[in-house]
């Protein structure tokens, strides 16, 4: 993909990246601040949340987070 094309699609990419990052970072903060999980450990969840786009945070909040 060349630079002109990248520029053309910038109005899409910026909100997309913001939405993905917002999800990822919210989940990451939660992973780091609540170190009790139903299964798995901190490193595993941090990787899942940051590397698996969109689905990772959903899976963490639905199945991974432990009771407070």
């Amino acid at each position: 993909m060349d630079l002109a094309m990248l520029k053309e699609y910038l109005p899409f990419l910026i909100p997309l990246v913001i939405a993905q990052l917002a999800l990822g970072i919210t989940a990451l903060v939660h992973v780091l601040r609540h170190p009790h999980y139903r299964f798995g450990n901190k490193v595993m969840w941090a990787c899942i949340v940051m590397l698996v786009q969109t689905i990772g945070p959903v899976v963490y909040f639905a199945f991974g987070r432990g009771e407070e």
Binding site: Y9, P11, F12, P15, L16, A19, Q20, A22, L23, T26, A27, H30, T54, P57, V58, F61, A62, E67
Partner: protein, 254 residues
């Protein structure tokens, strides 16, 4: 009525505190932005894969492709994410026992079920509206010539199917103790609907037609009037499921 509003407020507060509202909105926003983008970029990505000796003729992407993406993502991933997020709707409070105090203080059980359903419907409505709005805006921007028929009606059908699914979810939640049981029953209902759909005569009366006929509606291959019966049946079934779950929850040992 005051109890209902108070419990509704508590539910909304819970969804913001457990990040469920944020996740729903973000996931649907991501889908909303991705839909037209993928439709636009797919021919270019395929074109860049072109190798010697293979001739590929790729049709120009149209607004239909963007809406195909929208209905594919929203009916599959969107609904799955929604069901997974809402599956602990009752089980979390039952297992932690936080509901007991309120029930012994005189909060009616009917109110609990009804306000939970209302809150889920509100979140679902906002999410689908956000996704639709983003897809619509970007599609108009990317494909200015694109004309589509029955777009709002088609999305309304999808929304209606969401209501049916949430009613099923709530009934499943009152029937089981864990959220996995709830997920299992909801999944089983959807699979059963899909199996029934194999019989052509049942197609008109099956709620799942609301989530499978969307593209046909947009391309005008399917008559709008053929879905009126399905919508009516979905409404009745949702109402029935809601009533049954209220009745079961009234008898349920908390």
């Amino acid at each position: 009525m005051r109890n209902y509003l108070a419990f509704l407020k508590k539910e909304i507060y819970e969804y913001t505190k457990t990040y469920k509202l944020l996740i729903m909105l973000m996931v649907f926003a991501v889908f909303g932005i991705t839909n037209p983008l993928v439709a636009k970029l797919l021919p270019e990505i395929l074109g860049s894969l072109k190798t010697e000796g293979i001739i590929m003729t790729l049709p120009e992407a149209t607004a239909y492709d963007a809406w195909t993406q929208f209905f594919k993502n929203a009916t599959q991933m969107g609904l799955i994410v929604m069901v997974i997020l809402f599956s602990p709707v009752l089980s979390s409070e039952l297992s932690r026992g936080t509901l007991i105090n309120m029930l012994t203080k005189g909060l009616s059980r009917t109110v609990v079920i009804l306000s939970k359903y209302t809150c889920m419907v509100v979140v679902w409505t906002i999410s689908i509206a956000l996704c639709f709005g983003l897809t619509y805006g970007y599609t108009v921007y990317l494909f200015p010539a694109g004309e589509t028929a029955n777009l709002l009606f088609s999305t309304f059908c999808l929304w209606m199917f969401g209501l049916f699914l949430l009613a099923t979810l709530l009934l499943a939640a009152t029937l089981t103790k864990s959220n996995y049981g709830c997920l299992l029953i909801t999944g089983a209902v959807v699979v059963a609907c899909m199996l029934v759909n194999i019989i052509p005569a049942a197609h008109r009366y099956n709620p799942i037609s609301l989530a499978t006929d969307n593209m046909g509606l947009i391309t005008d291959d399917i008559e709008v009037s053929s879905l009126y019966c399905t919508i009516l049946i979905s409404c009745l079934l949702s109402f029935l499921f809601l009533t049954i779950s209220v009745l079961i929850f009234r008898k349920k040992q908390v």
